[in-house]
């Protein structure tokens, strides 16, 4: 089976590096699946999971604030933060989710703060979902 090299890098260092058979993720314009030999492409990603199919198994990486760059021989995901499923701090994500929930219930929030809390909520939910591999 043909494979393609995938690396996920963040400002705090590389997170994932391996050869996989398929990358699928959610871009801002919709679901996206990349197989080896894809044409060069750049797309911004949603807060979500990157699914990497490798030898019949699927690995998950939670990303937020990211980009996908495809080259014929390599896929690079640039994200402001990213964690593989096993590296997610579940307790921290849980706390972040509760905090965001509380903030969203606070009706005095202005527009920007509301949006921020919403994003924090999305990130926390995404991390929890990835850590439980629920997709």
């Amino acid at each position: 089976m043909k494979t393609i090299k995938v690396s996920v890098v963040t400002p705090d260092g590389p997170v994932y590096d391996s050869d996989v058979e398929m990358v699928s993720t959610k871009a801002q314009s919709g679901e996206l699946g990349i197989l080896p030999g894809h044409i060069p492409m750049v797309a911004p990603l949603e807060i979500g999971a990157v699914r990497l199919k490798k030898e019949g198994k699927t690995e998950f990486v939670a990303v937020s604030g990211g980009f996908l760059e495809v080259r014929p021989d390599q896929v690079t995901i640039l994200a402001q933060s990213a964690e593989t499923a096993s590296h997610i701090d579940v307790e921290r994500a849980q706390r972040a989710k509760e905090r965001a929930e509380q903030r969203l219930h606070d009706h005095k929030l202005d527009h920007i703060d509301f949006r921020r809390a919403e994003l924090a909520m999305q990130r926390a939910i995404n991390r929890l979902a990835v850590s439980e591999r629920k997709f």
Binding site: P11, G13, Q28, P40, V42, A43, E69
Partner: protein, 285 residues
């Protein structure tokens, strides 16, 4: 001549001081090691994002974005990166002096510039002089994560976008080696020297080049700031390590001198005592 006890006290206090400076040197050495590792970990991300940004910005020349276009400069932003604590030799003062001189030579009034102070030393210096500090952050950990300064980078880039200032410079101490750091001025915005050594690839854009630049350029500018911070942190710990090593060496030198004086004084006292005894005995004969 100081009394024996005074000299002994000086020796003891110098010894204690050298223990402290020695400990500080060692903690700085540990932090410096990790800071260098962090700065290295950041390199792949930076290279990649630079490559992609350059490919898009240069490759599709019909795209324009506020961050790529020069506009008439009414106000200039300065990011100044210092540490929170002192005892790092000339680390902080070098950066601050450079910024202070630049501002004085370039600007006539407070309305022409805005300062973003990172670190307590810069904040205190500029706030005390009533200079226009628009944003400040203190208490950055020794090993910062991107998340620690994301608020500042986002706000700074946002201020450029909403026209608070029309160009942005960053001043920080660039890490060359453990013993040498160099104050560096870098123009961040508008993004100018986007170049890459790699071959430019023409990409498909999903959804469009403009949409991607809208997300990518702020992220790129933010990572430039973060990169400068990591660089500055490595310099800070290296500078502190060197300063503390010098302090320890000086303390050792002082202890040596004091010991010499102490022994001399002790010998003088003994000689005098003997002379007195001999003198007393001679008087009895």
């Amino acid at each position: 001549m100081a009394s024996l006890r005074d000299i002994k006290n000086s020796i003891n206090s110098t010894k204690k001081m050298s223990q402290i400076t020695k400990a500080m040197e060692m903690t700085s050495a540990a932090k410096w090691n990790r800071a260098v590792v962090n700065a290295k970990a950041f390199v792949p991300y930076m290279e990649k994002i630079q490559e992609v940004t350059a490919s898009i910005a240069i490759g599709s020349s019909d795209t324009s974005h506020p961050m790529l276009t020069h506009r008439p400069v009414k106000k200039t932003g300065y990011i100044v990166m210092t540490s929170d604590s002192g005892l790092a030799g000339a680390f902080n003062s070098n950066v601050i002096r450079r910024v202070f001189q630049t501002i004085q030579s370039r600007h006539q009034s407070n309305d022409e510039f805005a300062i973003i102070a990172i670190g307590r030393v810069a904040r205190d210096f500029f706030a005390k002089r009533g200079m226009n500090v628009v944003l400040e952050i203190t208490g950055i950990p020794a090993q910062p994560n991107f998340a620690d300064i994301q608020d500042v980078t986002r706000n700074t880039v946002g201020m450029f976008a909403d026209g608070t200032f029309d160009e942005l410079y960053v001043y920080y101490s660039h890490y060359l080696s453990a013993i040498s750091q160099e104050v560096t001025e870098k123009k961040l915005l508008p993004l100018s020297d986007l170049s890459t050594s790699h071959k430019l690839i023409s990409y498909e854009f999903e959804p469009s080049a403009e949409e991607i630049l809208k997300v990518l350029l702020p992220q790129y500018a933010e990572s430039l700031i973060y990169g400068a911070l990591l660089d500055s942190k490595a310099s800070e710990h290296a500078a502190r390590m060197t300063a503390m090593r010098n302090a320890t060496d000086n303390a050792k030198e002082m202890i040596k001198n004091y010991s010499l004086i102490y022994n001399r004084a002790r010998q003088a006292a003994i000689t005098q005592e003997i002379a007195e005894i001999v003198g007393g005995a001679a008087a009895l004969e």
